[in-house]
Symmetry: C2
Subunit: 405 residues, 2 copies
């Protein structure tokens, strides 16, 4: 392991997206992340999407580069092993990350008796500890009622689990912040990260709560338009869609040049008394702008529209499906972030490494997700120092599983 | 400043969401984050939503708790001041975070001549350095074509800028990872974080690219249903909407009890030959499940439905608007993360602190965003050691602005 965080060890008890992705994020930077699961695998071990043989592509994606230990979580000896693993000595160890119910033997209070400077990050649904998932958190934020086509009645759910993803990175950040604090002061601590508060703090940061409280308005649904500037989708002659945005004068000039809109834009400015270099004025004149752009896009193929916009440096993108993305030369096939990786039980396909490029160390290529318990024996031996015959006995008694079974 | 990151200083050159939110995230943990802007303010200084007086609620939300210095970015002396600020000495200083074009005097190459162990995080649109915003990145991921109502043609854009938010937290994480590396090795570095790669790595992690490559299918649009388990919206008698999900046996049992569905669920299991405790089987039987639940929700008010689901511990949430969220007792008004803060130029409204609770230090209440150049003088004096008459001259020559103008 040669990554930026080489040597740092995190023991993870997790399922679903936020916690496993947080651990994976640190594993991709070189940390030794050990995920433990019950003998039958985690709640998420079979989550869809799956291959035709039932192997979870989801699980494989979110647990890349970790080590796996499989232990009977209900057996006192199994719990003893995991407690010892979480609290094992070492300046770079003693970090526990979980979104499992962290009660009893898995609580910070119990674990920190074994290691006073333990860092324990607990991801919870809300600050009371109630259950929540991305979808229930998103419902209360306000976003589903302003997302979706104009005229649509009712909420539009996000398919993209934005709050889980943000929480994953916040978890990784919080572990590093606490590890810094421990390095400087010697003190460990418990960290609580509520999924709901992650969402609410972002809603607050982006001004939505301020708008509601100060302006006393509920922002309506604006379809595919970007609020407060100009941006929306357009349909091409060949039935494809492109997103075109204007966030600066430069984007405006590039768009005008690509489509030959200079005169039409000047006419809008004159007729409506607006200055299209200003965001607010672009928003005011968005219908007029769209009326100029739409016929041009509709008269050309996606290839023609894309070529013209790209040539002038406009801010735009094609919409594509997941399969089209998978075949996208620039975004995936030629992107050094991706490596075609052979994931045992699934096959070879392009898999992403960390999106962050640190100049001090070369980016680690992605490593496969482990099979359940793949590293049980090496962890029991290498970290807990158990002799071979004891490890064999733990297998015999079905307290651990994996590697040698 | 008593926060977890007290003493750490980050100089930020930023606009829009990802970079300012990354800085704000660290400021809320106690770091000294200094945002610099041109004399006229940043590109995002007037971004919508704004108050009726034109003050940006967006800017106020994303720059809370920072210090602000206003400098003429085109003047050689202004550039000299900022270079000196970015590379000022100190174990906890020398960190630069930006999503501005980091060329010339603002490049890592130039700045690191002044401080060899500089850490410079540069957020770029894609790995080539091209422009991108959340909306153009999202277009190519595949999500807009699987989001939105069944039967809808064309893309559905996200209103929630998920990639910007994730990038903000990834930026904060990356700065802490590099600062750890510098503390251990003495070496600084340049970090490049492409917004597009942030999105693509998440698409990869969640199995979408694997599904496309291995199963060779494009997942269709499933409306508001959660793929691979059970979850969707339902309409109440009084025309409101609730999200109801089942991610575990416990959620299934709670839902069955809340609505009296035990027999109906057993009948589905028998008729369809499924086991509703399994995610995949819930997905297979989702239409039958919805057919049982929908009439019950439609026959009761939102208050009745919510009370029954809450009582049994089901996994559910009401959909609400931003104004309803702002008046939500549990989520906002009684939530200790929020403080009613008087934001100069805007007024008093509930503002969120950091969502992360670190036990070692009390959570800092949110601090207002600065006015443009509010801390110009104290920064010039306190960090760069400029005497009063020099600061006065810089104001006279219109090279800096703020505090004393």
């Amino acid at each position: 392991m040669t990554g930026l965080l080489a040597g740092l060890r995190i023991v993870e008890g997790s399922a679903f997206i936020a916690a496993p992705m947080g651990g994976m994020t640190l594993a991709q930077l070189g940390a030794d992340v050990i995920r433990f699961d019950d003998l039958a695998g985690g709640l998420d071990s079979d989550r869809w999407p799956v291959t035709k043989d039932g192997a979870s592509l989801y699980w494989a994606g979110l647990n890349k580069g970790k080590r796996s230990i499989a232990v009977d979580l209900r057996h006192p000896k199994g719990r003893e092993i995991l407690s010892a693993l979480i609290t094992a000595p070492g300046e770079n160890a003693g970090i526990f990350s979980t979104n499992m119910p962290a009660r009893g033997w898995l609580s910070y209070e119990e674990l920190s008796k074994k290691r006073a400077d333990l860092i324990a990050l607990v991801i919870v649904g809300d600050r009371h500890g109630a259950a929540n998932v991305d979808y229930t958190v998103n419902s209360i934020t306000g976003f589903p009622l302003v997302t979706g086509p104009l005229g649509h009645e009712g909420p539009v759910n996000a398919v993209l689990p934005a709050w889980d993803i943000a929480t994953a990175y916040a978890a990784a950040m919080s572990i590093l912040a606490a590890e810094r604090h421990r390095r400087l002061t010697g003190a460990g601590q418990k960290i609580v990260l509520p999924l709901q508060d992650m969402a609410l703090s972002a809603v607050s940061a982006m001004g939505y709560l301020g708008e509601a409280a100060i302006n006393r308005v509920d922002r309506p649904r604006f379809g595919n338009e970007i609020f407060g500037t100009f941006g929306r989708d357009f349909r091409t002659k060949d039935g494809r869609y492109v997103m075109i945005c204007v966030f600066s004068d430069r984007h405006l000039a590039a768009l005008a040049k690509a489509g030959g809109f200079a005169e039409a834009f000047a006419a809008i400015e004159k007729d409506k008394g607006v200055d299209l270099t200003l965001e607010a004025d672009r928003w005011t004149a968005r219908a007029e702008l769209a009326a100029v752009i739409a016929p041009w896009v509709a008269a050309h193929s996606a290839a023609e529209v894309g070529a013209a916009l790209k040539k002038e440096g406009a801010l735009w993108a094609p919409y594509q499906t997941f399969r089209e993305l998978g075949a996208d030369k620039d975004a995936v096939l030629d992107n050094p972030m991706f490596t075609v990786l052979d994931q045992p039980g699934i096959g070879a396909y392009p898999v992403a490494a960390s999106p962050v490029q640190f100049a001090a160390v070369p980016r680690e290529p992605p490593r496969p997700a482990p099979t359940l318990g793949q590293h049980t024996d090496e962890i029991l031996s290498g970290i807990l120092g158990l002799p071979g015959h004891e490890i064999a006995r733990l297998h015999d008694e079905k307290i651990v599983a994996g590697s040698s079974t």
